[in-house]
């Protein structure tokens, strides 16, 4: 167990950034997102969550895959994938870390996505326990322990000090390489962890009933009439999918530059009307079908393909960020099971 005074955290960041790239929550304008550490950036690990989740570091919102040079009838393919340098991801909360495991089930399944895999192997994750979870958090429902967020190193803020517990070889190697850390005793964090656990138990959504959501009920859930009212106010924007840490859908598009064509991969949203548009027709014409697809995929389709593991980590971003306050909690409360109401 290592520790450092809260006010010397800048020294820690500088030391880590000296050795390898460091990504941590940085406040730019009025929003906190994971950005690269440089001198003079405003680090903000006080706010509970970043707007875009840490998935952006492994499955970026847009990423060049290759470039084509065409001359006459011939095409030349230039591989534009960059192999990532080792980097440290600091300040990841328990829910975001669980989302990496869910994304691993998608991108590391056969055929493996090498771009994602390279980044996942190049990272050392330093997670941070949530000292004061918000009312929109419900990570406990999906088996996440916010006081022990796992990862390579587990950090906890106690009073005006931050304690680091290494959990993996990578974590131990990182902590040992940092001189500005002193040794701390393991019992110091017990009290804070208990306090966090109590706060989490007092949250409003902590005991949601998910019993109805399983593979066998797929057709029953699909035909439930409540989807009409649940999705009535949905605007079909992509906010819930772009802030969600477990959304995996992407699009592959071409961009004509002046000297050739860049093919890149970018996030896509099942809530957009063009998502399933075909030359002939669009199987999901109205917003209710798209809305249903999004939550059925997270709560029913994904678990039935991944031995019961849900596609949601209970981070509460969709609860906070939906323009019209529609979210997965309202879906669970309506369709999840009897003792929700």
């Amino acid at each position: 167990m290592k520790k450092i005074a809260y006010k010397n955290l800048d020294l820690l960041y500088k030391e880590i950034a000296g050795a390898q790239e460091l990504y941590l929550p940085v406040k730019v304008a009025k929003a906190t997102n994971f950005k690269k550490y440089e001198d003079g950036v405003e680090v903000d690990i006080k706010s509970l969550q970043t707007v875009k989740s840490a998935k952006d570091l492994f499955f970026p919102q847009s990423e060049d895959m290759m470039e084509f040079k065409t001359s006459g009838k011939n095409i030349e393919i230039i591989d534009a994938r960059k192999t990532p340098a080792p980097f440290v991801l600091f300040g990841v909360r328990g829910c975001d870390l669980k989302s990496f495991e869910i994304l691993d089930r998608v991108f590391l399944a056969e055929p493996v996505d090498t771009m994602y895999k390279a980044k996942r192997e190049a990272v050392t994750v330093v997670t941070l326990a949530c000292n004061n979870p918000e009312s929109s958090c419900f990570c406990k429902v999906f088996g996440v322990d916010a006081s022990n967020p796992k990862g390579d190193v587990q950090a906890t803020i106690v009073g005006d000090e931050m304690f680091f517990e290494p959990l993996t070889e990578k974590g131990r190697a990182l902590l040992d390489s940092l001189k500005c850390l002193e040794d701390g005793d393991a019992t110091a964090v017990e009290g804070e962890k208990k306090a966090i656990a109590e706060k989490i138990d007092a949250l409003p959504f902590v005991n949601l009933d998910l019993s109805e959501f399983k593979g066998e009920n797929l057709m029953k859930l699909f035909d439930r009439p409540e989807w009409e009212d649940l999705s009535k106010a949905c605007l079909g924007c992509g906010t819930c999918t772009f802030v969600c840490p477990t959304c995996q859908c992407f699009d592959i598009r071409d961009f004509q530059t002046n000297a050739g064509v860049k093919r890149f991969r970018c996030w896509d949203s099942c809530m957009y009307s063009e998502f399933t548009k075909m030359a002939a027709e669009n199987p999901r014409k109205n917003q209710m079908q798209r809305y249903r697809q999004r939550f059925m995929h997270k709560l029913c389709y994904f678990p039935s393909n991944n031995d019961g593991e849900y596609g949601c980590v209970g981070c509460g971003r969709c609860v906070k960020k939906c323009p019209q306050s529609l979210n997965i909690v309202k879906v669970i409360k309506k369709l999840g099971g009897k003792n929700n109401d």
Binding site: F255, T257, N258, A259, K262
Partner: protein, 146 residues
């Protein structure tokens, strides 16, 4: 920017309305009045055919300055085209200035078919101002810059 006899030259896109300023450009040419070769003219039926998307895409593709030329207000072949264009471009260029884009990168000029001299004078003046500003760094698309 563009590469011309291996030195960097500013790239200027001029949207010229078919009835007046394009004819003005012809007149400038036929009366041997020169204006910089950096200016690339795009003929449009009327100055109000120029969609703000065209202007931003010109900057995206590497233009350093964009100038819209049309008939003098009142002489428009379609009677009201340049009146709308006048309002539209005023608002758009004021917004670009609001976002911090240098004012001298955009301009609107009224050139009639008989003003070959004015056309070449305007183009010379605009090209020199844009050259003075240097490369367009504030509205550039990195993917289009090799």
């Amino acid at each position: 920017m563009q590469e011309m006899n291996n030195e960097k030259r500013p790239l200027i896109v001029a949207f010229c309305c078919n009835w007046c300023s394009y004819a003005g450009a012809d007149l400038a040419g036929s009366s041997r009045l020169s204006y910089p070769a950096d200016v690339k003219i795009i003929r449009v039926p009327c100055s109000c055919r120029v969609n703000p998307m065209f202007i931003l895409k010109a900057f995206q593709r590497g233009a350093d300055g964009v100038i819209i030329c049309g008939c003098h207000p009142g002489d428009c072949h379609y009677t009201t085209g340049n009146y709308y264009a006048r309002r539209r471009m005023s608002l758009l260029f004021s917004m670009l200035d609001y976002l911090g884009i240098e004012r001298e990168r955009t301009r609107v000029e009224w050139v009639s078919a008989a003003e070959g001299a004015k056309f070449s004078a305007v183009m010379n003046d605009f090209a020199s101002k844009v050259a003075a500003l240097g490369e367009n760094k504030r509205l550039e698309d990195l993917r289009c810059k090799e």
